[in-house]
């Protein structure tokens, strides 16, 4: 029901309970929020930094006791401010918003799953691996994570735990850890060897674009999480438009078919705050 939805997702405040430094530029913030505790992997929330900004962040974890975490990279004013905040300080939350990653429809313990994360994009994938795939209990789980250099590789502890019976492939541009290069290289190799029931990715758009092209070539099913400038977060203002889709409401998760419909914009152009399109440098 319309009214209840609006009222239900009104802004509420909460206090930062814990802050974990994940890397020189990434921190994880933990706080309580009842509504987001019901979030599914891939959904995001709008985080209000009082007096500064309100920004979209993927939900990194949501536990039954109502604890939520988000993992944030300091890239500009808002994220830097958040990094400077301390526990017990007040933030505001709306959400969870958007759709979520869905498990493939396969028999239990049969699925072969691949996850590919770049930067903080690894966060929702970890959430997915930990809780979102529980219904299908994958037979095999492969995780590719990339970073510029070793000390920017995120969540390694979590990753090792999750991939105990799976496979973990790391890539660094400078070769300080794992494969030297970018995630698409091990991906191409893997796809030429095996078939996956589902491939999930989240990370820089240019990476997502390359992964999309690779999976298309090998006809493999992809679910990719996209990022766009967001303001309302509820499908109204149009700021997050890509093709005919609103990333905040129709996404942030898109499948091959949808990605194909928006391939003229994916990794190529973005809406500016004023609504005009900019073409990004790398195409």
């Amino acid at each position: 029901m319309l009214d209840y939805l609006t009222a239900a997702n009104t802004l509420r405040t909460t206090k930062i309970e814990q802050i974990i430094t994940e890397s020189p530029s990434v921190k994880t913030f933990i706080f309580k929020d009842k509504q987001c505790a019901k979030a599914k992997p891939g959904q995001f929330l709008m985080l209000w930094i009082p007096g500064i900004d309100e920004i979209p962040l993927s939900i990194f974890n949501a536990t039954k006791n109502g604890k939520i975490s988000v993992s944030v990279k300091a890239v500009g004013e808002a994220t830097q401010h958040l990094h400077n905040m301390k526990t017990k300080e007040t933030i505001g939350i709306r959400g969870p918003f958007g759709n979520n990653f869905t498990p493939p429809t396969v028999t239990q313990m049969q699925a072969n799953i691949l996850l590919i994360g770049g930067g903080t994009g690894t966060a929702p994938l970890l959430f997915l691996a930990k809780t979102g795939l529980a219904t299908i209990k994958p037979k095999k789980l492969t995780f590719i994570v990339g970073a510029r250099t070793q000390n920017e590789l995120l969540f390694t502890e979590h990753l090792f735990k999750i991939c105990q019976e799976g496979k973990l492939i790391t890539t660094t541009n400078d070769g300080t850890h794992g494969h030297k290069g970018v995630v698409t290289e091990p991906l191409t190799e893997l796809l030429s060897q095996e078939k996956f029931d589902a491939i999930y990715t989240c990370g820089p758009e240019i990476m997502v674009k390359k992964i999309f092209e690779t999976t298309q070539k090998h006809k493999q099913p992809l679910q990719a999480s996209l990022e766009r400038l967001m303001r309302c977060g509820i499908g109204l203002c149009g700021s997050c438009t890509i093709g005919k889709y609103r990333v905040c409401k129709d996404g942030p998760i898109f499948n091959n078919t949808q990605l194909d419909e928006i391939k003229n914009e994916l990794g190529i152009s973005k809406l500016n705050p004023n609504g005009s399109k900019t073409f990004t440098t790398n195409t």
């Binding site: 609006t6 802004l11 309100e54 505001g92 509820i234 109204l236 438009t241």
Partner: protein, 306 residues
């Protein structure tokens, strides 16, 4: 399904009576196409001005009880850039495209209007009622003389129908309406958002970065409905486009009965998705059939009969 849902207004024909309200999903041609495919009879673009504006920092939207408070700050790419989008929209859709424009002076409005019309707009909607951007909107739409001047300048610059979007934040909306109509407005859109504010008690601060905003959605429905009723009473022959809080077909019917010839939908899209157009069309159609009305026109203003 078309048939009896067609409405005509200011020389334009709309296959369906509900349009997309300005400022909602109105940037890109593809989303507008999607809205049309979902059953909208027309789209109104995001309000466009002479120069690009980034709008305000977030939070720009506050989800209030049964409504939404927004202060986007009129983000828009400026008319020079937007003309390309207008042309693109016209390639994609064959329903009317109404370009919403704003300005800081009558000249501004006239220049933007001329460019929008040349690029292919089927009609213009003058946003003279944005309640939270200084020196446009409110200041223009609350003063009959200034409003009249703006409408005249635009009418002189273009040959397409000109709608004036009225503010509910006035002592007597019919006075402004009168000024607009006398200056040549072809139709009235009633109404824009209501002046409102949201304050957070934990931080003791206003939530929106612009502090003040405009309320839309269900909370304002019966207020917007009253504006339409009052306008129909005073200006029975001027086409009215009802706007404010419509979220289901019953609301739409209420607006027709109050005097609206067509309606616009904004906030409801956040909850129901663009599919809300289809649902509302269906509901209106069933109502007309059940009550044996042959067209929407037959029920426009019916609540005024004693």
């Amino acid at each position: 399904m078309e048939g009896n849902l067609r409405v005509q207004l200011a020389g334009l024909t709309f296959s369906y009576p509900c349009m997309l309200a300005s400022g909602v999903l109105g940037y890109s041609a593809e989303t507008m196409q999607r809205v049309i495919e979902a059953g909208a009879g027309a789209v109104v673009s995001k309000s466009v001005g002479l120069k690009a504006r980034d709008g305000y920092t977030n939070p720009t939207v506050f989800q209030a009880k049964n409504g939404l408070i927004n202060a986007m700050g009129l983000p828009n790419p400026g008319i020079e850039t937007y003309v390309k989008e207008i042309r693109h929209v016209k390639e994609l859709i064959c329903q009317p495209l109404i370009v919403s424009i704003f300005g800081y002076s009558a000249e501004d409005y006239a220049i933007v209007a001329e460019k929008a019309a040349t690029a292919g707009a089927d009609a213009l909607e003058l946003n003279v009622s944005c309640p939270h951007v200084k020196q446009t909107g409110a200041e223009i739409g609350q003063n009959p003389n200034v409003l009249s001047e703006v409408v005249k300048a635009v009418k002189a610059a273009v040959n397409i129908p000109v709608f004036v979007k009225l503010s509910p934040n006035v002592t007597d909306i019919t006075l402004l309406a009168n000024a607009a109509v006398n200056a040549g407005a072809d139709a009235l859109t009633a109404v824009n958002t209501l002046k409102a504010i949201a304050i957070d008690i934990e931080t003791t601060k206003p939530v929106l970065s612009n502090i003040k905003g405009g309320l839309s959605g269900p909370a304002m429905k019966n207020i917007a409905l009253r504006c339409v009723y009052d306008l129909k009473e005073k200006l029975p022959n001027t086409p009215i486009i009802g706007c404010g809080g419509v979220s289901n077909w019953q609301d739409a019917i209420e607006f027709f009965l109050a005097g609206a010839n067509a309606i616009q939908i904004g906030t409801a899209i956040a909850y129901e998705g663009p599919e809300v157009f289809q649902t509302i069309n269906l509901g209106i159609k069933k109502y007309l059939e059940k009550k044996q009305f042959r067209s929407i026109e037959e029920i426009v203003g019916l609540s005024h009969r004693r």
